[in-house]
Each structure stands twice: as structure tokens, then as C-alpha cells.
């Protein structure tokens, strides 16, 4: 009897956590991060990784989990920890492969394929910083969290979805202009 109560209690906690993540509750993400920190970082540390790399991989895995959950495309068939652990495994395996490639002198060809990419990313990041805080949030919620206009309106306190839609349109236009001003035509076409 007691066992049954205990077990159902756990299930509710997991479900509640996942629901909160799906609704965009960042505190729930922080809770999960703290709860499984040691378990997840140990995976990397015990497999030739440093503590910084372990932290980075774990955070990347949680970001992936967050985005999947927020997009509504994730149906959890396991515990959150199992799912995140498998993402950590994949990310770290990928990173180890990348390191191996670099050490096998495939470095040059890999870099030459995408030489301008880091520079473009920096330009866009700078342009994002030039936007106001509201614009940044609207765009991030729309493109990363894939929130609906209603959710964005609720989250940022807009009067209605039309306001959210207009805001999103204007912010995106502004960002495009900022980026275009720094790009040359050749940058895009290359």
C-alpha cells in the first residue's frame, strides 16, 4: 500500500516537472539541472572529459530537451533523466568524434568548408544585442521556444495576439536590416 502511494507520488512529480517545462517554466529547468548535475557530468568526466566540458555538454543537452519539450513534439516514454542522459551521451560522443577528427588532421578541410560561419554568427549575435530586450525575447520565444502568439502575449504582457504578431514582425524586420547592413551580398551567396 505504502509502496503504491510512493510510486504514484514519483510519477506525479515527473509529470508535473515535464508539464512545467512544456509550458516554459524556467524554474523547472533549473530544478532538473541541479537535481541531475552530478549524474550527468560524471558521464563526461569519467569518459576523458574535463569538468568544464561536462558542464557544457549537460547544459547543451538540457537546452535540446527544453526546445523539444517546448515545441510540443516530445512525447516522453522514459524518465526525464534517462532522456537527458541519452542526449548527453550523443553530444559527448559527437564531441569526441570531432576531437578525433581534428587530431587526425582532417582539421583543415573541415574548417575550409565553413570558414565564414563563425564570423556570421558573431555579426548576428551583435545585431541581437542591439535590439531592445522585448524584441530579443519576442524573437527568441517565437523561433526557439516556438511559442504561439497567445503564449508570447501572455508571457510578455501584450494586450492581445495581434500586438504580439505585430511586435514579432517589426522586431524581425529590424534584425534583418541590422544584419543586412553588416553583410555584403557576397557573404550570403558564398
Amino acid at each position: 500500500m505504502a509502496f503504491r502511494v510512493f510510486k504514484s507520488g514519483l510519477q506525479v512529480d515527473e509529470k508535473e516537472l515535464f508539464d512545467r517545462i512544456c509550458k516554459g517554466d524556467e524554474k523547472a529547468l533549473e530544478f532538473i539541472y541541479k537535481k541531475y548535475y552530478r549524474m550527468m557530468t560524471k558521464l563526461v568526466i569519467t569518459n576523458s572529459g574535463t569538468e568544464d566540458e561536462a558542464r557544457d555538454v549537460y547544459q547543451d543537452a538540457l537546452v535540446v530537451f527544453w526546445q523539444k519539450a517546448r515545441s510540443g513534439n516530445l512525447v516522453l516514454t522514459s524518465k526525464i533523466s534517462t532522456y537527458v542522459y541519452s542526449i548527453c551521451q550523443n553530444l559527448w560522443r559527437k564531441e569526441l568524434d570531432r576531437k578525433k577528427r581534428l587530431s587526425n588532421e582532417e582539421k583543415d578541410s573541415a574548417e575550409s568548408l565553413d570558414l565564414d560561419s563563425p564570423e556570421r554568427e558573431k555579426i548576428i549575435a551583435r545585431c541581437m544585442d542591439q535590439l531592445g530586450e522585448t524584441c530579443r525575447k519576442v524573437l527568441m520565444y517565437y523561433y526557439f521556444d516556438e511559442m504561439s502568439m497567445q503564449e508570447i502575449a501572455d508571457k510578455l504582457g501584450f494586450a492581445n495576439t495581434d500586438t504580439a504578431k505585430t511586435k514579432k514582425y517589426k522586431c524581425k524586420q529590424k534584425l534583418d536590416e541590422l544584419v543586412k547592413a553588416q553583410y555584403t551580398e557576397q557573404d550570403f551567396l558564398d
Partner: protein, 267 residues
Amino acid sequence: MSNFELIDDYLSNRLKGVEKEAFEKQLHNDPTLKSDLDFQKQIVEGIRTARATELKSMLSKVPVGGTEVIVDFSVVKMAATLIGAGVVGAAIYFYVTRGELPPFEKAATDFNQTTEQPNEQEPAQHDVTNVQPDSSEKVAPLVPVESKDTKKENKKEPTKQHKPEQAKPAEKPKLDLTNPTDELNNDGEKKEEPTANLRRSDITPSHVQVEMDSSNKKYDFHYQFVNNKLMLYGSFDKSLYEVLEINGDNHAVFLFYKDLYYLLDEN
């Protein structure tokens, strides 16, 4: 729907099913659309990167301390190992050092058993340390004397001064032990006599130089006279002690410690 809206929905995963397939077909046939898509894709990726960075930054501020504990634990384990090795090493050192002290054991008096049983009779049985109970009358007069000679000095002396005593193995110090409280509980007459004796005797704080060694664990409550110095072994520093001299017809030196008087054999 304009191209801008189509691209935007496509990149934000909002274009589904048939509309998505139709858009992908259009991309193959329209280079301008493809170019626009590539540009927008870079911007949307930039927005996503900014959000991921923001989330990671938020997580970095969450206090965890998980791995620190692991590191600390390993450090603690290492420290514990070093301390353990140090303790074992010190124990071996002192054991070996004390191994050179058997003559001292003969010269000194084992106080331990006397302090455990402060009444006079029991210590008299220890012939190894030659403990001899003294009469309470002789000890009682010392009660009023109040002088404290509490010199605390270095610990390395005993091993150096040990050898002179080695030459006198036949000397067996006598330990005089009494519990003054028993005397105080006696009737008035018996108290009077020692008081009179006290006044006749010239009782002074001893000028005997005292050295102490509290690190010697084998001899934890012993004494020894070396070159006119009184060596005390044990944790005497934890409580006050007095060394008293009686300069009458019979010269005697007493150690007053924890309410007990110990007659010290100066020979």
C-alpha cells in the same frame, strides 16, 4: 501567403504537411527563394543560438557543487592518507625513541595507578615503581603552602638526559601518595599536629628547575631527576601543579598535583 511568411513558417517549423512539401518543391525551382531562405536561416539560427546561450547562462548561475564535492572528497581522502601516514610515522618514531628508555622506567614512578586510586594503600603494592605510602601526618602540613612553579619547557630533553639515569639502575624512586581530603576529614587533634610541624619546618616553593614533556605517550605520568632538574612526563600542563620543598631535618620534595601530594625521590 507571401514568400517572407512562407520562409518564416518553414524555418520556425510551423509549416506542415502538404504546404511544407509544396514549399520545398518551390525551393528547387526558385533560386531567389533559396537565397532568401539561406539568409533567413542564418538569422533564425542566430536567434536560436542567442536563446541557447541565454538558457545556458541561466543554468550556470544555478548553484550545484556536485563535482566540487567529488574533488573535495578526493582531496580529503588524500589528506587523510597523509595524516594517517604521519601518525603512523610519529608513532613508530616515538616507539623507537622510547625503546631507549627502560632505565628511566626504573628510575621513574608510575603515577597512573595511584591516581586511579587516590587512597594510600593501593600504590604501595607497586614495587616496580617503588611506591611507598607516606604517613598522612607528614603530608598534611603541606596543605597551606601556596606556591606555583609551573615552568613549561621543551620536550626534547628526556632522551638526552636519559643516559645519566641509566648509570644508576639500582635507584628506585619512592612515591609518596596521600589524599589530603582524608586528613581533613579527621578530628581536630590530628589536624593540629601537622599544622605545628608545618610551622617548624621551613616549607618553601621549590627552586628545582622543572621541565615537562607531554609528548611522551609511554611515560604519561612519570618523573625523573636529571642533573638537579625535575623532568615531568605526561599531560601536566592540563592542570596546575606545584613542587614544594621541605628544608627541615629531613629534606623532601613534594609534587602537588590534582589534590594529591607525591613525595619525590631526589636520589
